[in-house]
Chain length 269, copies 2
DNA sequence: GCAAATTTGTTCGTATGTATT
DNA sequence: CAATACATACGAACAAATTTG
């Protein structure tokens, strides 16, 4: 059974795009009417083909203008630090990470601090009953002005009651919240667990990252739960990154040099 | 500006699905004809709404049968080991990982071994010129019979020339290829770098994992490059996992207990 | 095993709305 | 304002897959 016509058209266009016949990076494709004539198909069928290409991020459409070849993105490479460099952690680095690459300017929003009742994930990770009061500190991070990640850290309220008052100030904790807790309360983060996950963005994330609504681009979600010496959760940080422009690198043991910022391509058998 | 009608229908159905009004896990939705009547819309408009739901993995359709509420998946949780437990590595664990959870039976295919000319990623990561001969060892892994991951490890040919003959045997290296190299040649893997990436599956991966062709489900790609004491690449392992049923966990320092196999849900502000 | 009924999949045509130039 | 191009919506017909009688 042959592929449906829309799929054949889509594959033909894909091949033409990837081989560069249709130009690259912002070059307009023929209009739907022209494609309709080229392939002797109805406009709706051509549109089905274009929809498939849009879903693969090969083209994008703009009302009233046309359909264009999508540019290849140069991904941000975030290095997740495995060692215990956490002393250098700032609030803006509450999720210990480092953006690699030259000529890239990271900026961070001021934290938005909320006092709220723990639900779902925060309650579970902090091992407190639902409804327990927790502190939430939320920040948005940009690279070269482009939204890069959002993160929210939840702390149990008893940390404030025991003296860590700055947790409820809407100001950056320059030395790093984890380090602040250690200096102020003598509570050390003895270890942490990271969970990696990929899921579709919720509405807020979609708006912040300007992601399309069609579920074509997922987000990385990294949940980092930190524990003190007794194994009691100290904090949980949820960070999300759009998956279309982010990569993560981790290193263990002795590793030479700086990783080239390469985007892997397809299969390698 | 109100949402288009197909979107309103989609949102209404989404709400009905998530609140359980339409039943769960395999319950059929009303047929397109019924929905057409319910919403006073054309069949094509109803179909646009359903397409959106399919894209979010909320429903799936089966020709000749109907549209059904998609089951929630219980994800595999893979633990990426950060320490140097690599001595316990088998070929089937060449990518040091551990599947968490009870009642889960991992199985591994026999390796498919190929001798080929390095291209693209393998050449780059092994720091050899394109065209250099390398060994490729490919394996497929299943959990409870469900395709779980595919991985290909590339080794420089000179390892075989220096005595590591078993690399080119299509048999599992039980003690682990990395350990075998150390015992046989005295070459130790002093460190490694992991790159995490999310991309759409290629054709092979789509077929192996039974992923839909519409680009709705991406794959995790983890590229692990191992280096010897002098910083020379020893091997590069490319492992892919379908993103819809996999999560990754890493732990650093002292972390209590076993992580609950929770799926995070939505936003947590 | 076959035929009918049901349901989704594909393709066409057409009309109108909205965004951009 | 007009022209162009994509977006939405309707209606219709037939194909393909599946279940049922």
């Amino acid at each position: 059974m042959p592929d449906p016509m829309w799929k054949q058209i889509a594959e033909d266009l894909r091949q033409k795009i990837e081989s560069g016949v249709l130009g690259s990076d912002g070059k307009p494709l023929p209009t739907e009417l022209e494609l309709q004539a080229d392939y002797s198909a109805s406009r709706n069928t051509v549109r089905d083909a274009i929809k498939w290409l849009v879903g693969r991020n090969l083209v994008y459409t703009r009302s009233g203008q046309g359909t264009f070849v999508a540019p290849k993105v140069d991904p941000f490479v975030t290095k997740l630090v495995a060692g215990s460099q956490s002393s250098a952690e700032g609030d803006s680095q509450a999720f210990t990470a480092e953006v690699l690459g030259l000529r890239r300017l990271p900026t961070v929003s001021l934290p938005r601090v909320e006092i709220l009742a723990a639900t779902g994930l925060p309650a579970r990770e902090l091992a407190v009953p639902r409804g327990t009061t927790v502190i939430s500190r939320h920040q948005q991070r940009y690279i070269d002005g482009v939204p890069y990640s959002r993160q929210t850290t939840f702390y149990p309220m008893h940390l404030v009651e025991r003296g860590a008052a700055r947790l409820i100030n809407a100001e950056d904790i320059r030395e790093g919240a984890v380090h602040y807790l250690e200096r102020e309360l003598g509570i050390r983060e003895a270890g942490w667990r990271d969970r990696f996950n990929v899921r579709l963005p919720d509405q807020d994330e979609g708006a912040f990252f300007s992601l399309p609504d069609d579920g074509r681009i997922p987000v990385f979600e990294i949940v980092r739960t930190g524990y003190d010496d007794s194994g009691i959760p100290l904090r949980v940080t949820v960070t999300t990154y759009p998956a279309d422009r982010n990569q993560f690198v981790m290193e263990f043991g002795r590793v030479p040099g700086v990783p080239a910022s390469d985007r892997s391509e397809g299969s390698h058998e």
